[in-house]
């Protein structure tokens, strides 16, 4: 049994890759899967903070690649889910510390250890770290914001996924591409100030696997080191739960796409 490898990528920075990686990995673990989530952003480690395990990092991804630690030593077991593990990025090495052979060895090791899913949190950009994060993937979650530079960059990433990955090179069948629209504001879409789900789908020619509304709870979750999917009361958390279910093959309708109806006083006085 080999693990399914999912890369979370975007091209542009700051669109929500790490937030998505943390929630996706947690959601898959909640569905009973054995999951490892790996931070590929060597030199700018952040997944550990979002997962709330930053003080438990002893060994990291680069240590394992270079044989300075075993996978077992470097995997950090999640506090909340016993079948969820984090592999942190190195904070001190430079980005050339990862090699294709080294990454392959780690992914194979995780597969042998019985992991069902490996979530690869890609760095921004299209350079080596991003390339290695996507190279071995079976699925890709392309995180995009409804904003011009993010949409353009994600189209570039979709092109790279279709050509510069192991599956593409071997002709093993295409990577499954999932478009995830984050920081979506139904109010601004309704007023014509933000690209809609349909706009983004039309421009990129692929349909979304989920839409995460802009939500104060995302910041609150990262402040406290708890993936937002665990905040079951927040719209963002529920939207992430739906997204994970869809990636696992379930059919669920999109939610939280409509602007809330205004009350009488709001209609009279605006706001």
């Amino acid at each position: 049994m080999t693990a399914e490898i999912i890369v979370v990528t975007s091209g542009k920075g700051g669109v929500g890759k790490t937030t998505t990686s943390a929630s996706l990995a947690t959601g898959l673990a909640m569905a009973g899967k054995k999951v490892a989530v790996i931070d590929f952003d060597v030199g700018l480690r952040n997944l550990d903070l979002i997962m709330g395990c930053e003080r438990r990092v002893v060994y990291d991804f680069v240590n394992v690649v270079h044989g300075e630690a075993t996978l077992k030593q470097a995997l950090i077991k999640d506090k909340r889910h016993e079948n969820l593990y984090v592999l942190a990025a190195s904070q001190t090495r430079d980005k050339d510390a990862l090699t294709q052979e080294g990454v392959e060895k780690v992914l194979d090791g995780l597969s042998e250890d019985g992991f069902d899913y490996i979530v690869c949190d890609s760095p921004a950009g299209i350079e080596k770290g991003a390339h290695l994060a996507m190279y071995f993937a079976d699925h890709a979650v392309v995180v995009v914001n409804p904003e011009v530079s993010s949409v353009r960059d994600s189209d570039r990433i979709l092109g790279l996924l279709a050509s510069k990955t192991r599956r593409a090179e071997r002709g093993d069948g295409a990577i499954k591409q999932h478009l995830l629209l984050t920081r979506y504001s139904p109010v601004r879409v309704a007023s014509g100030d933000m690209l809609s789900v349909k706009d983004v789908e039309e421009i990129l020619g692929i349909s979304v696997v989920g839409v995460i509304p802009e939500s104060e709870q995302v910041l609150a979750a990262s402040n406290s080191g708890v993936p937002v999917i665990l905040d079951a009361n927040s719209h963002a958390g529920q939207a992430y739960s739906d997204t994970v279910a869809r990636i696992l093959g379930e059919e669920r309708a999109l939610r939280f796409l409509d602007a809330p109806k205004k009350g009488f006083l709001q209609r009279v006085f605006g706001g």
């Binding site: 092109g159 100030d193 690209l195 706009d199 421009i203 009279v268």
Partner: protein, 92 residues
């Protein structure tokens, strides 16, 4: 729309503009994807040559690589400015 809304200055909605701009740039970038790296350079050098005879902008030169059952065709078109008797003829 509230009755006091007219007091606020309403900027024009911009999402439609964003969509239109993206549609064009994404289509353009897809058409050059996987094409040889020398195309932009070739385009610039062609512009220099064409400028010796007639004044055109970089945007007037279109280069595409079409793949057609096993062989590649380099397609080149130059839009000449209107109203002038062109000294050069569009190449295809």
């Amino acid at each position: 729309m509230g009755i006091l809304d007219f007091l606020k200055r309403k900027p024009e909605p911009t999402a439609g503009l964003a969509k239109e701009r993206l549609r064009i740039i994404v289509a353009q970038e897809r058409s050059t994807r996987g094409a040889p790296d020398y195309l932009p350079l070739l385009r610039n050098e062609l512009l220099e040559v064409i400028k010796k005879y007639v004044h055109v902008d970089l945007e007037a030169i279109n280069i595409n690589v079409e793949r057609d059952s096993g062989h590649e065709v380099l397609e080149l078109s130059v839009a000449l400015p209107e109203g002038k008797q062109a000294a050069a003829t569009p190449a295809t």
